[in-house]
């Protein structure tokens, strides 16, 4: 991965963040904190890692991504729209009556959504089922899944973790969006999940720890996961909840609250500033609205 392409991905991530904040602000409700913390990983996945064809979302050989932390739907929707699965203008209909952009992802209403999620703890099991199906069919497509850190308090996650390693599912890669906060406060205060990496290792997983906002590191870890044979990999990604919007960063109060008009204005200014700075660094003007670099299958 060249530096130039990583730069392009960073610019795309800035656009994804802008879309997230904008659509939640417009909808008047939603989950900005955990969407913003996941934005870099989702950008890396949708614009570099996943084999996809936005023109043919049901392409049988596509890689599958399951957003187990379904409340980060705005991040997924932003990535899908930027990647060309549906028009960006659809993002304005988030959470509206009759919209395919439901409050939590609905695989039957929106192209590109691979699993219906939102009740936490279910996505890893779904991903295990997909990975078993790929293996039965001797198919080369891979399965990716993102979990929240608070989410792994759900017992079903560990049932699924056991099953994935029991079956040696090396075609499955999980990302833990480890932003350290959940609705009622810091994860370590609500219900400790420490030591996270040791827990997954004890369940038979290959564990890679990265900075979840360092796109190069995310891509390296993803490549290592792909090359790891005989067991599934989880990439424990240290992230900041609300990343990119100063007044949201590290504040659990922004888990499930929309910004008001004034806050929205400030957030967008900050994100536009970030996008321009990234564009300037790269010597290219006007990042907003620009397409990221993607790989399609």
């Amino acid at each position: 991965m060249s530096t130039a392409s990583v730069d392009a991905l960073q610019r795309t991530a800035a656009i994804v963040r802008r879309r997230i904040v904008e659509m939640i602000g417009r909808a008047g409700s939603g989950h900005p904190g955990g969407s913003l913390s996941a934005a870099d990983i989702l950008t890396a996945l949708y614009f570099h890692v996943l084999r996809l064809d936005p023109e043919n979302p049901g392409w049988p050989e596509r890689d599958r991504f399951v957003l187990s932390k379904g409340h980060a739907a705005p991040a997924l929707y932003a990535a899908l729209a930027e990647r060309g699965f549906f028009p960006v203008s659809e993002l304005d209909r988030l959470r509206r009556l009759g919209s395919p952009l439901q409050g939590h992802p609905d695989m039957k209403s929106l192209p590109g959504v691979e699993a219906s999620t939102g009740s936490l703890g279910q996505g890893l099991s779904f991903a295990v089922g997909l990975a078993l199906a790929a293996r039965l069919d001797k198919a080369s497509w891979r399965v990716y899944v993102m979990l929240g850190d608070g989410e792994i308090q759900e017992g079903q996650v560990w049932e699924a973790a056991m099953a994935a390693s029991h079956h040696g599912l090396d075609n499955l890669t999980a990302y833990l969006d480890y932003n350290g906060l959940q609705i009622d406060g810091p994860v370590e205060e609500v219900m400790s999940i420490s030591p996270v990496a040791d827990k997954w290792r004890a369940f038979g997983w290959n564990v890679i720890e990265v900075d979840g906002h360092d796109i190069s590191a995310i891509l390296r870890a993803t490549r290592d996961a792909r090359e790891t044979k005989g067991r599934p990999t989880i990439i424990v990604a240290r992230t900041v909840k609300g990343r990119g919007v100063s007044f949201m960063e590290g504040k659990h109060g922004w888990h499930g609250k929309a910004p008001n008009e004034e806050q929205l204005k400030q957030a967008l200014e900050e994100l536009d500033g970030l996008a321009s700075a990234l564009a300037a660094e790269d010597g290219r003007p006007g990042a907003a609205g620009e397409d990221g670099e993607g790989t399609s299958g």
């Binding site: 699993a115 703890g121 779904f126 039965l136 099953a163």
Partner: protein, 320 residues
């Protein structure tokens, strides 16, 4: 001591296991999951024949349902089996979100439903599963009455595109149908026409109702018997027909009187053709340990109780 002229009794779970093996040969997309109960649910038969397509998920039913959903999303036809207390009982939210909401073709085939679990007692006797399953949008709920109907229902479930809950029993039940019985989702068999009252039943209560109809005929009460083996969607046409013809209905099921077949039939008829409906089932309470036959007696799931209910329904009709 078996009477050679009487057809052999078969448990619906046994017929299920055999049907999976039979169907599995022609359909490589069928996969089977179990949660450490494969000897009891009889999925073991499939596991022995097609080990590559059988997944024992261990004692982890929530994960089993999610994995089944993922397999279905990738084009497989998964049958997920455990006891009815565990699915839909234990894993309601997993069925709701991962299966029913996206309308994925997961076939949840649960055995040991109802009182006839027997000695294991209340912890293992599911009397609420029909109520749980049938209120889920997109869900189809099937309760076969004997071995032949179970076999046919398995094949129908394979062809049916959405999720299915198939409710199966532990104890052998008498054959009602010939081995080549066909099954259409949402269509009932009129096993007996009747002028005075319609006995609408599912599962092992179908046979009990056939016995009750004989008793009633001796009193000149002509009772029709309907095998309502699809609890959802109801066969509205047949229900409307029997309700209008007889003007009185009895429902019978090995389930709570709340929310199951009796609830569904009452809800439907009250809005379209209101007639007296008397429900036979387990009153609003838990089961207990005992032999299956003893339990059916103790909880009133007998031909004499069905006949009582029929007399009551007929009296209610006349009293109007």
């Amino acid at each position: 001591m078996t009477n050679p002229t009487e057809p052999k009794k078969v448990a619906t779970r046994e017929a299920y296991g055999e049907a999976l093996v039979e169907a599995g040969g022609a359909r490589p997309d069928i996969v089977v999951l179990d949660a450490d109960l494969s000897a009891s649910t009889r999925t073991q038969l499939f596991a022995e024949k097609y080990p590559d397509r059988f997944f024992n998920m261990g004692i982890a039913e929530a994960n089993m349902i999610g994995v089944a959903a993922g397999l279905a999303a990738a084009g497989k036809i998964p049958f997920a089996s455990t006891f009815a207390v565990f699915a839909p009982g234990r894993v309601y939210d997993q069925i709701r979100l991962s299966v029913a909401y996206p309308r994925l073709g997961v076939k949840i085939a649960s055995t040991h439903a109802g009182l006839t679990v027997g000695e294991d007692g209340a912890s293992h006797q599911s009397l609420e599963d029909l109520a749980l399953a049938r209120v889920l949008p997109n869900m189809t709920v099937i309760v076969p009455a004997d071995g032949a109907e179970t076999r046919a229902a398995v094949f129908a479930a394979i062809e049916h595109e959405g999720p299915v809950y198939l409710r199966l029993g532990r104890v052998p039940v008498p054959a009602i149908y010939p081995p080549d019985k066909r099954f259409t989702v949402g269509r009932y068999d009129m096993l007996k026409e009747g002028r005075d009252v319609a006995l609408v039943a599912c599962g092992l209560m179908v046979e009990v109702c056939l016995q009750a109809a004989v008793t009633l005929a001796a009193e000149d009460i002509l009772a029709g018997v309907v095998n309502a083996s699809t609890v959802k969607p109801l066969d509205e046409e047949t229900l409307t027909y029997v309700a209008s013809r007889a003007g009185a209905v009895v429902t019978a099921e090995e389930h709570s009187v709340l929310g199951g077949l009796g609830g569904a039939v009452t809800e439907f008829l009250s809005g379209i053709h209101p007639v007296p409906v008397v429900r036979v089932g387990v009153d609003d309470r838990f089961g207990q340990s005992g032999r299956p036959g003893e339990l059916l007696e103790a909880y009133g799931l007998t031909a004499s109780r069905v006949a009582d209910a029929a007399r009551k329904a007929v009296a209610l009709k006349k009293g109007r």
